[in-house]
């Protein structure tokens, strides 16, 4: 049963996702796998070290339309933000920015937020 009730915003970010790909020599990578449905998401960060800002962000995702759309949206939300601001982006922010997700697809937004937070944590661990 494919949800037919994806919002316009989800379809938009799924059909034409932003910031796809990998960043060569990324400052940090966050990788998350979902045990439930098998989705995988990888977030790459390029950090402005002085300003502690996200200069560039890209993603690679294996998953359904919701997983791809949430990945695309989180890169949009995080780009240009300071690390402190980016840490505060929640899965709810992602879902809300996409005009909501079908209930069965809410776990996809967790995936996106978790991947971003993991990438930031990895950066901070390696740059103490």
């Amino acid at each position: 049963m494919i949800p037919t009730n994806y919002s316009k915003k989800v379809i938009e970010h799924f059909s034409k996702p932003k910031n796809i790909g990998e960043i060569k020599n990324a400052d940090a990578i966050g990788e998350i796998g979902n045990m439930i449905c098998g989705d995988k998401m990888k977030i790459y960060l390029k950090i402005d070290k002085k300003a502690k800002k996200i200069k560039d962000i890209k993603f690679q995702t294996f998953g359904c339309a919701a997983a791809i759309a949430t990945s695309s949206m989180i890169t949009e939300l995080a780009k240009g933000k300071t690390l402190e601001q980016a840490k505060k982006i929640t899965n709810k922010d992602v879902a809300d920015s996409l005009q909501g997700l079908p209930p069965i697809k809410m776990h996809c937004s967790n995936l996106a937020a978790d991947a971003l937070h993991k990438a930031i944590a990895n950066y901070e661990k390696n740059n103490k």
Partner: protein, 382 residues
């Protein structure tokens, strides 16, 4: 943009000839059970179709019982057999049956029955030796589908039927995907389920073939229609539509050739696998898995291009788990969710130009998703 409908295993469009027949028959409003002339006219039409179907599958007219479709037929076959034979408590089914068998078995289990699953090989063909080993004196019923709805694999029905007959076990087959596409000799089995809408008839009609002498109880009691075995006023137009649908000339060989061409072209995409078997597959079903991408995404992208396909991926299911059929044939973790099913029509065949568009669009969109994916086939090979 013209749509390419490639989901004929889910349902089929109504055939023009069926529409014409329905228009002709729609004036027959009589209840076939009524004794007056108007009722009798309807009754005659129903009996004509019953005879036609019987002839079509080498059965007797009194062995055909109209139902609302295959879900009812499958429920009836399983539950009705259990009800009529309370002494034996063991049922064998394949692990790739349709949910209308699997879920029915879950219900039967609660009544004290043991349900055993028989495994299939990587092409989806049932393991005959395992079936033989699992049969016991307590075995009442074996139910194995003729053609699998997800991967199209054809089962050796006659071989299974022979084993069951020797052991005096009731043999049921779900023939929803094969009826009208593969020659069926119903006299070889005891029970056989069919649905009309998979064969260009209308939705809400099907039948259960019950071989004379098979012990089975009715599920629907009431007015005593269908020789007291399935009460409820006959679905007159449904019956008429299935009667017409089986008369139509189906382009089985052409569909089969088209299927093979499409498979061969799509297998050229690196990392792509065919689920099932080229040789042992039904003429119209293609199940493919692409490396490192997810089926629902591909299904949606193709839908945007006007191409209707289906998928058995985890993300597309209500339970977020991958297809039980793909798991049963042992599809690996890199492919199990990257599945789509293309099912061709048998009345109209894709033109060469349509075939080319289909292949091109699938290639483009698979490539698009593979570009987004972190799981790369090139790295897998290393």
């Amino acid at each position: 943009m013209k749509t390419l409908y490639l989901d004929n295993a889910a349902t089929t469009p109504l055939a023009i000839e069926v529409t014409k027949e329905l228009n002709k028959q729609i004036k027959n409003y009589g209840n076939p059970s009524s004794r007056h002339a108007i009722g009798k006219t309807a009754k005659e039409e129903v009996e004509k179709v019953r005879e036609k179907i019987a002839k079509f599958i080498n059965a007797k007219p009194e062995e055909i019982f109209f139902t609302s479709g295959a879900t009812e037929s499958n429920n009836w076959a399983m539950k009705g057999t259990a009800l009529a034979n309370p002494l034996k408590k063991h049922i064998l089914i394949s692990c790739i049956e349709h949910p209308s068998i699997l879920e029915t078995c879950e219900t039967i289990k609660k009544q004290g029955y043991t349900i055993d699953l028989v495994s299939v090989n990587k092409e989806g063909v049932i393991n005959i030796e395992e079936l033989k080993k699992k049969i016991s004196d307590n075995t009442l019923l074996v139910s194995i589908m003729h053609v699998n709805n997800e991967i199209g694999t054809i089962q050796p029905l006659e071989e299974i039927a022979k084993i069951c007959k020797e052991k005096n076990i009731v043999f049921h087959t779900d023939a929803v995907q094969s009826f009208g596409k593969i020659k069926i000799d119903a006299s070889k089995v005891d029970l056989l389920s069919v649905s009309g809408h998979k064969l260009n008839a209308i939705k809400g009609i099907g039948f259960l073939y019950i071989k004379k002498g098979t012990k089975i109880s009715p599920l629907l009691n009431g007015g005593g229609q269908e020789r007291n075995m399935r009460s409820g006023t006959e679905n007159f137009l449904g019956i008429v539509s299935i009667g017409k649908a089986i008369e139509l000339k189906r382009r089985i060989n052409e569909a089969s050739q088209s299927r093979v061409r499409i498979i061969k072209k799509l297998l050229k995409i690196p990392g792509t696998i065919l689920n099932g078997s080229i040789e042992r597959g039904a003429c119209n079903i293609i199940s493919l898995s692409f490396y490192g991408i997810e089926g629902e995404s591909l299904q949606m992208l193709l839908d945007e291009e006007g191409i209707s396909v289906s998928t058995g991926s985890a993300c597309s299911s209500n339970k977020l788990s991958a297809s039980h059929v793909l798991k049963a044939i042992g599809v690996d973790e890199y492919h199990i969710n990257g599945n789509i099913r293309l099912s061709l029509g048998t009345l109209e065949i894709l033109t060469k130009a349509q075939e080319n568009i289909l292949v091109k669009k699938i290639k483009e969109n698979v490539k698009k998703l593979q570009k987004i994916s972190p799981i790369k086939f090139e790295e897998h090979k290393k």
